[in-house]
Symmetry: C2
Subunit: 132 residues, 2 copies
């Protein structure tokens, strides 16, 4: 059976202050039912807002929708993201993503749970020094 | 390693007339590398344009980005899609999707290949009678 989730039926959620710095808003897109392993959430970061450091068992893909964002995998450079860009983060790579300091940023975050059903692992918040 | 595909580096492709009716444009988003099974493409349908009937081994998720679209799983009603709506099509369910007759439509199409690596199966085009 076709299942349709209407935009107006799923209110935007404020993201948890435990795992994000600044004001971040989440719109549910997909929690796939087996055999699907996909998860997708549309996330909007207010200027300067970002995730904490985290990692995913099968990696994560970010598709930039609006504004200007940032992404960094630990040990690499901070990279800028603009609408239409796709960032592919490898499995079990510590990383963070968020808005530029003076720009709103919206991306669709896509990931897959592991074969054992495992999901995101969260770590400490991103310091101002790492963010800049 | 973080991999970024820049929007300006991946030209929009015209979709094959074998599998689509009308003018349809595809922007690559993701072809996941193992262990990822994900595929994602941003697709824009000119008014009246649509896919042929097809099915996916692990189903398909459509996230409506802009305009007004249509989706139908065989045997069910034609449903309208608007920005922010998510349509979840089950595994191996024959279906089609596209624009409304008088509206452009853009959606992000997400799917997963099967455990055996199998992808989309394509069938006949959607008749004007089925489309209306």
């Amino acid at each position: 059976m076709l299942k349709i989730h209407r935009a107006e039926d799923r209110p935007t959620k404020k993201a948890s202050a435990d795992m994000f710095t600044g004001d971040v808003f989440q719109d549910a897109v997909l929690v796939g039912e087996a055999p699907s392993r996909m998860r997708a959430t549309n996330v909007t970061f207010n200027p300067g807002a970002r995730t904490a450091w985290h990692q995913h068992p099968v990696g994560q893909t970010l598709w930039a929708v609006a504004g200007v964002g940032r992404v960094q995998v630990e040990g690499g450079a901070v990279q800028e993201l603009r609408p239409g860009d796709t960032a592919i983060i490898p499995p079990n790579a510590r990383h963070w993503h968020g808005a530029a300091p003076d720009r709103i940023f919206t991306h669709l975050a896509m990931s897959e749970i592991g074969e054992d059903g495992g999901g995101t692992e969260w770590f400490e918040k991103v310091s101002d020094a790492d963010y800049s």
